[in-house]
Amino acid sequence: MPEEPAYSSAEEPQLVEWAKLGDMQAFEELVARYRDRIYVRAYSIMRNETLAVDLSQNAWVKAWQRLEQFHGEASFPTWLSRIVTNLCLDELRRQKRARTDSIEAMEETTGPVENRMEVETIDPVEGLSRGELRERIDAALAKLSDKHRTVIVLYEFEQLEYREIAEKMGTSIGTVMSRLFYARKRLASLLKETLKRDGLIE
Protein backbone atom coordinates (compact mmCIF):
# COMPACT_ATOMS: atom_id res chain seq x y z
CA MET A 1 0.00 0.00 0.00
CA PRO A 2 1.50 3.38 -0.98
CA GLU A 3 2.50 5.61 1.89
CA GLU A 4 0.17 8.51 2.57
CA PRO A 5 1.76 11.91 1.89
CA ALA A 6 2.85 13.86 4.96
CA TYR A 7 0.36 16.69 4.57
CA SER A 8 1.20 18.59 7.72
CA SER A 9 4.86 18.94 6.79
CA ALA A 10 4.33 19.49 3.06
CA GLU A 11 5.18 22.82 1.45
CA GLU A 12 2.27 24.96 0.31
CA PRO A 13 2.95 24.62 -3.47
CA GLN A 14 3.03 20.84 -3.09
CA LEU A 15 -0.28 20.85 -1.23
CA VAL A 16 -1.79 23.04 -3.94
CA GLU A 17 -0.60 20.64 -6.64
CA TRP A 18 -2.05 17.65 -4.79
CA ALA A 19 -5.30 19.52 -4.26
CA LYS A 20 -5.43 20.31 -7.98
CA LEU A 21 -5.27 16.57 -8.61
CA GLY A 22 -8.34 16.14 -6.43
CA ASP A 23 -6.66 15.34 -3.12
CA MET A 24 -9.14 16.56 -0.52
CA GLN A 25 -6.78 15.87 2.36
CA ALA A 26 -4.23 18.23 0.85
CA PHE A 27 -6.95 20.83 0.52
CA GLU A 28 -8.01 20.22 4.13
CA GLU A 29 -4.44 20.97 5.20
CA LEU A 30 -4.55 24.26 3.26
CA VAL A 31 -7.83 25.12 4.97
CA ALA A 32 -6.27 24.37 8.36
CA ARG A 33 -3.32 26.64 7.59
CA TYR A 34 -5.25 29.65 6.32
CA ARG A 35 -8.77 29.43 7.75
CA ASP A 36 -8.16 32.11 10.40
CA ARG A 37 -6.56 34.46 7.91
CA ILE A 38 -9.46 34.18 5.50
CA TYR A 39 -11.96 34.59 8.32
CA VAL A 40 -10.15 37.71 9.55
CA ARG A 41 -10.38 39.34 6.13
CA ALA A 42 -14.08 38.53 5.86
CA TYR A 43 -14.67 39.86 9.38
CA SER A 44 -12.70 43.06 8.72
CA ILE A 45 -15.07 43.89 5.88
CA MET A 46 -18.37 42.55 7.19
CA ARG A 47 -17.98 43.13 10.95
CA ASN A 48 -20.38 40.26 11.52
CA GLU A 49 -19.21 36.93 12.89
CA THR A 50 -21.86 34.71 11.30
CA LEU A 51 -21.57 36.32 7.89
CA ALA A 52 -17.79 36.21 8.05
CA VAL A 53 -17.86 32.46 8.82
CA ASP A 54 -20.34 31.77 6.00
CA LEU A 55 -18.44 33.85 3.49
CA SER A 56 -15.11 32.31 4.39
CA GLN A 57 -16.63 28.84 3.96
CA ASN A 58 -17.99 29.87 0.55
CA ALA A 59 -14.58 31.22 -0.36
CA TRP A 60 -13.00 27.83 0.33
CA VAL A 61 -15.63 26.07 -1.78
CA LYS A 62 -15.01 28.49 -4.64
CA ALA A 63 -11.26 28.05 -4.22
CA TRP A 64 -11.62 24.28 -4.60
CA GLN A 65 -13.72 24.74 -7.73
CA ARG A 66 -11.28 27.22 -9.24
CA LEU A 67 -8.00 25.60 -8.24
CA GLU A 68 -7.15 25.07 -11.91
CA GLN A 69 -7.14 28.85 -12.33
CA PHE A 70 -4.48 29.30 -9.67
CA HIS A 71 -1.09 29.48 -11.37
CA GLY A 72 0.94 30.92 -8.53
CA GLU A 73 1.19 34.54 -9.74
CA ALA A 74 0.33 35.57 -6.18
CA SER A 75 0.72 33.42 -3.08
CA PHE A 76 -2.06 30.96 -2.34
CA PRO A 77 -3.37 32.90 0.71
CA THR A 78 -3.33 36.14 -1.31
CA TRP A 79 -5.35 34.43 -4.04
CA LEU A 80 -7.78 33.13 -1.42
CA SER A 81 -8.01 36.52 0.17
CA ARG A 82 -9.07 38.00 -3.18
CA ILE A 83 -11.83 35.39 -3.42
CA VAL A 84 -13.21 36.10 0.04
CA THR A 85 -12.95 39.86 -0.54
CA ASN A 86 -14.97 39.55 -3.74
CA LEU A 87 -17.59 37.51 -1.93
CA CYS A 88 -17.78 40.15 0.81
CA LEU A 89 -18.20 42.92 -1.75
CA ASP A 90 -20.97 40.94 -3.45
CA GLU A 91 -22.66 40.52 -0.08
CA LEU A 92 -22.39 44.24 0.69
CA ARG A 93 -23.89 45.03 -2.72
CA ARG A 94 -26.71 42.58 -2.02
CA GLN A 95 -27.34 44.20 1.35
CA LYS A 96 -27.26 47.64 -0.21
CA ARG A 97 -29.85 46.64 -2.78
CA ALA A 98 -31.99 45.31 0.07
CA ARG A 99 -31.83 48.60 1.93
CA THR A 100 -34.29 51.18 0.81
CA ASP A 101 -32.82 54.02 2.75
CA SER A 102 -29.07 54.24 3.08
CA ILE A 103 -27.57 56.15 5.93
CA GLU A 104 -24.26 55.85 4.19
CA ALA A 105 -25.37 58.21 1.50
CA MET A 106 -25.50 60.90 4.16
CA GLU A 107 -21.97 60.11 5.26
CA GLU A 108 -20.57 60.15 1.76
CA THR A 109 -18.09 62.93 1.17
CA THR A 110 -19.35 65.16 -1.52
CA GLY A 111 -18.31 68.68 -0.75
CA PRO A 112 -15.02 70.45 -0.40
CA VAL A 113 -16.02 71.92 2.99
CA GLU A 114 -15.99 68.52 4.68
CA ASN A 115 -12.81 67.56 2.91
CA ARG A 116 -11.03 70.60 4.27
CA MET A 117 -11.21 69.03 7.73
CA GLU A 118 -7.71 68.15 8.74
CA VAL A 119 -6.49 64.66 9.33
CA GLU A 120 -5.88 64.35 13.06
CA THR A 121 -2.33 63.90 14.19
CA ILE A 122 -1.83 60.61 15.98
CA ASP A 123 1.64 60.43 17.37
CA PRO A 124 2.99 57.00 18.07
CA VAL A 125 1.92 56.37 21.64
CA GLU A 126 4.53 55.32 24.12
CA GLY A 127 3.58 52.51 26.41
CA LEU A 128 0.93 51.25 24.07
CA SER A 129 1.77 47.87 22.64
CA ARG A 130 1.16 47.04 19.00
CA GLY A 131 -1.61 44.68 20.10
CA GLU A 132 -3.36 47.37 22.14
CA LEU A 133 -3.11 49.82 19.27
CA ARG A 134 -4.53 47.20 16.90
CA GLU A 135 -7.51 46.73 19.19
CA ARG A 136 -8.21 50.45 19.19
CA ILE A 137 -7.84 50.67 15.43
CA ASP A 138 -10.19 47.70 15.10
CA ALA A 139 -12.77 49.40 17.31
CA ALA A 140 -12.48 52.58 15.25
CA LEU A 141 -12.84 50.61 11.99
CA ALA A 142 -16.07 49.11 13.32
CA LYS A 143 -17.53 52.62 13.53
CA LEU A 144 -16.91 53.45 9.88
CA SER A 145 -19.59 53.00 7.26
CA ASP A 146 -19.37 49.90 5.06
CA LYS A 147 -18.02 51.90 2.12
CA HIS A 148 -15.32 53.67 4.11
CA ARG A 149 -14.27 50.59 6.02
CA THR A 150 -14.15 48.54 2.82
CA VAL A 151 -11.91 51.01 1.06
CA ILE A 152 -9.55 51.07 4.05
CA VAL A 153 -9.46 47.27 4.24
CA LEU A 154 -8.86 46.92 0.51
CA TYR A 155 -6.10 49.51 0.50
CA GLU A 156 -4.34 48.96 3.81
CA PHE A 157 -4.87 45.23 4.43
CA GLU A 158 -5.57 43.73 1.02
CA GLN A 159 -2.93 46.06 -0.43
CA LEU A 160 -4.75 46.80 -3.64
CA GLU A 161 -4.05 49.85 -5.79
CA TYR A 162 -6.61 52.62 -6.30
CA ARG A 163 -7.41 51.26 -9.77
CA GLU A 164 -8.02 47.74 -8.48
CA ILE A 165 -10.24 49.01 -5.67
CA ALA A 166 -12.24 51.08 -8.16
CA GLU A 167 -12.77 47.98 -10.31
CA LYS A 168 -13.79 45.82 -7.38
CA MET A 169 -16.14 48.42 -5.93
CA GLY A 170 -17.54 49.37 -9.33
CA THR A 171 -16.68 53.02 -8.94
CA SER A 172 -14.22 55.63 -10.22
CA ILE A 173 -10.65 56.13 -9.01
CA GLY A 174 -11.65 59.64 -7.91
CA THR A 175 -14.36 58.23 -5.66
CA VAL A 176 -11.91 55.71 -4.21
CA MET A 177 -9.44 58.52 -3.41
CA SER A 178 -12.18 60.61 -1.85
CA ARG A 179 -13.53 57.73 0.24
CA LEU A 180 -10.06 56.78 1.38
CA PHE A 181 -9.27 60.34 2.39
CA TYR A 182 -12.50 60.71 4.32
CA ALA A 183 -12.13 57.28 5.92
CA ARG A 184 -8.63 58.14 7.14
CA LYS A 185 -9.76 61.42 8.62
CA ARG A 186 -12.65 59.75 10.40
CA LEU A 187 -10.40 56.94 11.59
CA ALA A 188 -7.83 59.39 12.92
CA SER A 189 -10.52 61.32 14.72
CA LEU A 190 -12.05 58.18 16.27
CA LEU A 191 -8.64 56.90 17.26
CA LYS A 192 -7.71 60.16 18.90
CA GLU A 193 -10.96 60.13 20.88
CA THR A 194 -10.28 56.58 22.09
CA LEU A 195 -6.70 57.27 23.04
CA LYS A 196 -7.72 60.44 24.88
CA ARG A 197 -10.48 58.62 26.73
CA ASP A 198 -8.01 55.95 27.79
CA GLY A 199 -5.63 58.64 29.01
CA LEU A 200 -2.96 57.60 26.57
CA ILE A 201 -2.71 61.03 24.94
CA GLU A 202 -3.67 64.48 26.13
Partner: protein, 171 residues
Protein backbone atom coordinates in the same frame (compact mmCIF):
# COMPACT_ATOMS: atom_id res chain seq x y z
CA UNK B 1 -6.70 72.64 -8.97
CA UNK B 2 -8.90 73.28 -5.93
CA UNK B 3 -7.97 72.59 -2.33
CA UNK B 4 -9.83 69.32 -2.26
CA UNK B 5 -8.04 68.02 -5.34
CA UNK B 6 -4.70 69.08 -3.90
CA UNK B 7 -5.40 67.14 -0.69
CA UNK B 8 -6.23 64.04 -2.70
CA UNK B 9 -3.00 64.49 -4.67
CA UNK B 10 -1.05 64.66 -1.41
CA UNK B 11 -2.72 61.45 -0.33
CA UNK B 12 -1.79 59.85 -3.67
CA UNK B 13 1.80 60.90 -3.09
CA UNK B 14 1.82 59.33 0.38
CA UNK B 15 0.28 56.15 -1.05
CA UNK B 16 2.83 55.97 -3.84
CA UNK B 17 0.13 56.35 -6.48
CA UNK B 18 1.50 59.62 -7.80
CA UNK B 19 4.61 59.26 -9.89
CA UNK B 20 6.67 61.08 -12.48
CA UNK B 21 6.31 64.75 -13.20
CA UNK B 22 3.14 65.18 -11.14
CA UNK B 23 4.88 63.79 -8.07
CA UNK B 24 7.89 66.05 -8.59
CA UNK B 25 5.68 69.11 -8.95
CA UNK B 26 3.78 68.28 -5.80
CA UNK B 27 6.97 67.66 -3.84
CA UNK B 28 8.21 71.08 -4.92
CA UNK B 29 4.94 72.59 -3.78
CA UNK B 30 5.21 70.87 -0.40
CA UNK B 31 8.51 72.67 0.16
CA UNK B 32 6.78 76.02 0.09
CA UNK B 33 3.36 75.12 1.57
CA UNK B 34 3.42 74.43 5.32
CA UNK B 35 -0.25 73.39 5.34
CA UNK B 36 0.28 70.73 2.70
CA UNK B 37 3.43 69.58 4.46
CA UNK B 38 1.46 69.06 7.66
CA UNK B 39 -1.21 67.12 5.79
CA UNK B 40 1.48 64.98 4.17
CA UNK B 41 3.03 64.25 7.58
CA UNK B 42 -0.32 63.34 9.14
CA UNK B 43 -1.29 61.05 6.31
CA UNK B 44 2.12 59.41 6.54
CA UNK B 45 1.57 58.77 10.26
CA UNK B 46 -1.87 57.28 9.53
CA UNK B 47 -0.37 54.97 6.95
CA UNK B 48 2.25 53.89 9.44
CA UNK B 49 -0.38 53.18 12.07
CA UNK B 50 -2.44 51.11 9.66
CA UNK B 51 0.43 48.94 8.50
CA UNK B 52 -0.21 45.46 9.86
CA UNK B 53 -3.04 46.81 12.00
CA UNK B 54 -5.59 44.16 11.09
CA UNK B 55 -6.52 42.52 14.36
CA UNK B 56 -5.79 38.78 14.30
CA UNK B 57 -8.83 36.66 15.03
CA UNK B 58 -9.57 33.00 15.44
CA UNK B 59 -12.39 31.34 13.60
CA UNK B 60 -15.25 31.10 16.12
CA UNK B 61 -15.94 27.45 15.29
CA UNK B 62 -13.74 24.40 15.55
CA UNK B 63 -11.45 23.62 12.66
CA UNK B 64 -13.05 20.19 12.22
CA UNK B 65 -16.53 21.62 12.06
CA UNK B 66 -15.41 24.32 9.61
CA UNK B 67 -13.82 21.70 7.37
CA UNK B 68 -16.87 19.42 7.58
CA UNK B 69 -19.06 22.29 6.40
CA UNK B 70 -16.68 23.08 3.55
CA UNK B 71 -16.30 19.45 2.45
CA UNK B 72 -20.07 18.91 2.57
CA UNK B 73 -20.62 21.99 0.43
CA UNK B 74 -17.98 20.83 -2.05
CA UNK B 75 -19.55 17.36 -2.29
CA UNK B 76 -23.02 18.87 -2.69
CA UNK B 77 -21.88 21.16 -5.49
CA UNK B 78 -20.00 18.35 -7.23
CA UNK B 79 -23.09 16.13 -7.07
CA UNK B 80 -25.15 18.91 -8.62
CA UNK B 81 -22.54 19.48 -11.32
CA UNK B 82 -22.46 15.76 -12.14
CA UNK B 83 -26.23 15.63 -12.22
CA UNK B 84 -26.29 18.44 -14.76
CA UNK B 85 -23.50 16.93 -16.82
CA UNK B 86 -24.60 13.27 -16.97
CA UNK B 87 -26.74 11.89 -19.85
CA UNK B 88 -30.41 12.61 -19.38
CA UNK B 89 -32.55 9.97 -17.72
CA UNK B 90 -35.34 8.38 -19.71
CA UNK B 91 -37.86 10.87 -18.35
CA UNK B 92 -35.59 13.79 -19.21
CA UNK B 93 -34.90 12.25 -22.62
CA UNK B 94 -38.62 12.01 -23.21
CA UNK B 95 -39.13 15.62 -22.22
CA UNK B 96 -36.14 16.84 -24.14
CA UNK B 97 -36.70 15.06 -27.45
CA UNK B 98 -39.96 13.16 -27.77
CA UNK B 99 -42.29 15.89 -26.65
CA UNK B 100 -40.90 18.59 -28.97
CA UNK B 101 -40.73 16.10 -31.84
CA UNK B 102 -44.32 15.04 -31.22
CA UNK B 103 -45.32 18.70 -31.20
CA UNK B 104 -43.55 19.33 -34.48
CA UNK B 105 -45.14 16.19 -35.97
CA UNK B 106 -48.61 17.33 -34.91
CA UNK B 107 -48.00 20.75 -36.38
CA UNK B 108 -46.80 19.26 -39.68
CA UNK B 109 -49.80 16.95 -39.71
CA UNK B 110 -52.27 19.73 -39.05
CA UNK B 111 -50.67 21.96 -41.69
CA UNK B 112 -50.63 19.11 -44.19
CA UNK B 113 -54.23 18.30 -43.54
CA UNK B 114 -55.18 21.93 -43.74
CA UNK B 115 -53.68 22.09 -47.20
CA UNK B 116 -55.01 18.78 -48.46
CA UNK B 117 -58.18 18.19 -46.55
CA UNK B 118 -60.77 20.18 -48.46
CA UNK B 119 -60.08 18.81 -51.93
CA UNK B 120 -58.94 15.24 -51.07
CA UNK B 121 -60.81 14.00 -48.04
CA UNK B 122 -64.18 12.58 -47.92
CA UNK B 123 -66.20 15.03 -45.81
CA UNK B 124 -69.39 13.93 -44.21
CA UNK B 125 -71.74 16.30 -42.52
CA UNK B 126 -72.70 14.75 -39.16
CA UNK B 127 -74.90 17.62 -38.09
CA UNK B 128 -75.26 21.30 -38.77
CA UNK B 129 -71.94 22.05 -37.06
CA UNK B 130 -70.00 18.82 -37.37
CA UNK B 131 -67.53 17.66 -39.99
CA UNK B 132 -66.19 14.12 -40.13
CA UNK B 133 -63.00 13.30 -42.00
CA UNK B 134 -62.07 9.74 -42.84
CA UNK B 135 -58.49 8.71 -43.33
CA UNK B 136 -57.24 5.13 -43.18
CA UNK B 137 -55.37 5.26 -39.86
CA UNK B 138 -56.56 8.52 -38.46
CA UNK B 139 -59.89 9.94 -37.59
CA UNK B 140 -60.20 13.68 -37.61
CA UNK B 141 -63.28 15.36 -36.35
CA UNK B 142 -63.92 19.06 -36.14
CA UNK B 143 -66.67 20.81 -34.30
CA UNK B 144 -67.57 24.41 -34.99
CA UNK B 145 -69.86 26.64 -33.03
CA UNK B 146 -70.66 29.80 -34.86
CA UNK B 147 -72.17 31.43 -31.78
CA UNK B 148 -69.01 31.06 -29.67
CA UNK B 149 -66.68 31.40 -32.64
CA UNK B 150 -64.95 28.20 -31.49
CA UNK B 151 -63.52 25.26 -33.43
CA UNK B 152 -62.49 21.95 -31.89
CA UNK B 153 -60.28 19.57 -33.87
CA UNK B 154 -60.26 15.99 -32.55
CA UNK B 155 -57.51 13.65 -33.80
CA UNK B 156 -58.00 9.95 -33.10
CA UNK B 157 -55.76 7.04 -34.00
CA UNK B 158 -57.52 3.79 -34.84
CA UNK B 159 -56.88 1.17 -32.14
CA UNK B 160 -56.96 -2.42 -33.12
CA UNK B 161 -58.64 -4.00 -30.10
CA UNK B 162 -58.05 -7.69 -29.63
CA UNK B 163 -60.84 -9.93 -28.59
CA UNK B 164 -59.53 -10.47 -25.05
CA UNK B 165 -59.00 -6.78 -24.38
CA UNK B 166 -62.44 -6.09 -25.82
CA UNK B 167 -63.73 -8.63 -23.38
CA UNK B 168 -62.08 -6.76 -20.51
CA UNK B 169 -63.69 -3.59 -21.64
CA UNK B 170 -67.06 -5.21 -21.82
CA UNK B 171 -66.62 -6.76 -18.35
Amino acid sequence: MNENETELKVQSLVDGELTGREAEELRARLESDAGLRTLHARLTVMRGLMTGAELPRTLPESGDFHWSQISKAIEREERQAKHLARPASSANWLLRWVVPLAGVACLVLVLTMKQTAPPNLDILLGSDHELELSVDDLDVMTFNTGDDAMSIVWLDYAIDLQQDSLQLWLD
